[in-house]
Symmetry: C2
């Protein structure tokens, strides 16, 4: 059906081995012959059979991308940039949605890695640690953790491998300081935080960073209410209802994730609160259409392109230097605060 190496060899009047060597640029083949063979291959639309090559070389030229949900705009943009960066490096991208389910994640990991479908996996972990991750660590699989680190315990070989795997995520501390500054500058003293699951490090870290930034500016710890969501829009709306039902209602909200912040805005609208007159809102994860919200939403933007590039680069590095010791390839490009109209003076 498709053109195979033997077809090219026949058409060029050389052996199969000569075609292989010519295409890989082996100096054994004289430049003139090499160029002639390459021209024939190109003209015939030849592409090496990916499976055959993988079988022989143990390299697939594919990478797995396991994210929670590509319909989440943050991950959609990230996935797009990763696919582009991977293609630029000659890698195909196998996409998987874990739906924040550790079991689903582990099933994908096993299918991708144990099945030799990919050379490595860029993973947004659905939980701090899972059996599948330990298995991948034991098999010394190439892993790059994206957006969220994992929690490695113990000193087994598997644990050490996971601990040595690169982590790429955004650095939020400066942007969150600015956010806290913005809120306290407007006189807010009671703040609600809609937090990602505390089983994820982003959940813990974003929450703690925001609490620190606020208390450093004189907000009392007891005036900070934290409600945990599950990254989904609905959970943001429910968290908002809960915060509004507090005896001492917050005057400002930090939504520590994109979709949950959208849910929170819906909750505010449903309860007929005005933003920012009654309550100020700062979200996490920016989108081009936040400009069009009522009011335009102030949000912390993650450096998506930089994250994608760093993750792909880290993976390519792992693939190229399979034998070399793992490098400390962590990358943490900084977030920035995008100021719009959803923050204003605290009500009297």
């Amino acid at each position: 059906m498709a053109v195979r190496m033997r077809d090219v060899a026949q058409a060029a009047g050389v052996s199969i081995a000569a075609v292989s060597l010519a295409l890989s640029g082996n100096p054994r083949i004289p430049a003139e012959t090499r160029d002639r063979i390459r021209a024939v291959a190109e003209q015939m639309g030849y592409r090496p059979h990916a499976g055959a090559r993988a079988l022989r070389t143990e390299v697939t030229g594919s990478l797995g991308l396991v994210i929670s949900d590509v319909a989440n705009p943050f991950f959609a943009e990230l996935a797009g940039e990763i696919q582009r960066a991977a293609a630029a490096e000659g890698f195909s991208t196998v996409l998987c949605n874990s739906d924040e389910d550790a079991g689903v994640q582990d099933e994908y990991l096993r299918n991708l890695l144990a099945g030799s479908r990919v050379d490595g996996v860029i993973l947004v972990p659905a939980a701090a640690m899972t059996e599948g991750l330990l298995a991948a660590g034991k098999a010394k699989a190439r892993l790059v953790f994206l957006d969220r680190p994992v929690e490695v315990r113990g000193r087994t070989a598997a644990a050490r491998h996971l601990a040595g795997s690169p982590v790429v995520r955004s650095g939020a501390s400066k942007a969150l300081s600015e956010a806290a500054e913005l809120l306290t500058g407007f006189g807010h003293r009671r703040v609600g935080i809609i937090a990602p699951p505390m089983t994820t490090r982003v959940g813990v870290e974003r929450t703690e960073l925001m609490i620190q930034s606020l208390t450093a500016r004189g907000v009392a710890t007891r005036d900070i209410s934290v409600v945990e969501g599950d990254f989904r829009q609905d959970s943001g709306e429910r968290a908002m209802e809960q915060l509004l039902a507090n005896k001492s209602r917050p005057t400002a909200i930090f939504g520590a994730d994109g979709l949950m912040t959208i849910g929170a805005m819906k909750g505010l609208r449903a309860a007929r609160y005005r933003v920012p007159a009654d309550i100020s809102v700062i979200g996490f994860d920016d989108a081009p259409w936040f400009d069009l919200f009522d009011p335009p939403l102030t949000a912390v933007a993650q450096p998506i392109t930089a994250m994608a590039t760093a993750a792909v680069r880290a993976m390519v590095h792992l693939v190229d230097d399979a034998a070399a010791p793992l490098p400390a390839a962590d990358a943490t490009p900084a977030c920035r605060l995008v100021r719009r109209a959803s923050c204003g003076p605290a009500p009297a």
Copy 2:
């Protein structure tokens, strides 16, 4: 490194062939032995080497998904649903962003198909016809066209193969009639259409359907202005500027694509028009956050889950019945109009 069939065979005390047969459920292996072998395989975390299997069976268990840009919310949702549906059928999904570039699309097609990386490609074509598509047609590649049909000319075998490939897209005619009814009911008589590229059939069809729906309700053809965009947000904003500069400015806008409608809203805001007091807007492609826009955006929602399911089902059908004649597996689930607040009475 990873567990191979021979390891399972050794652990279970049987031949490699027995393992293969047991895992595929061949009745030659007694049920008891089969279950024992399967248990050993499961326990060892065995997954067949995808490349080796592909080499032997000519089936990869992967499908390619070539879309224009996964960061576009419509395609992001579609990609997510396709990945999920594919996984449920046992297929991996290889994601590619063509960026609406026919050359990039063709390169991906060739890489995926000629390289035997996938069993078939679900494709949102970047152009009405391309060399790569013809090559894929000539090779009798399994193709499912998504969102946009292609224009097949001639009666060559390649052309016939492409013409016989399933097309899955949404049916907009009823929803666009409702949209036209909504606008004319509000007294609008001058309508601007921000259209996708006329090189794509969606561009031509959505535009023509809307024009027909409007003229059928008494709007004069000369009062309908069409400005062509390129699916990108910026082009929507520029199109909006152009429409506002018209001598006879439209009082209602139909944005025939998601991102372009967002651009149009930005253009209106920049020019300080009020929606819907000065101009009404209907968009295409719905998103959960349109509720939060100022004003909440009325839009035509595509049946994304139904489209994804139909596309994957069509592909699975092509894979299963490789030898059978191509079925007429086209699917056209209907769009629906989601009414919000961006449409109102035409200004006097």
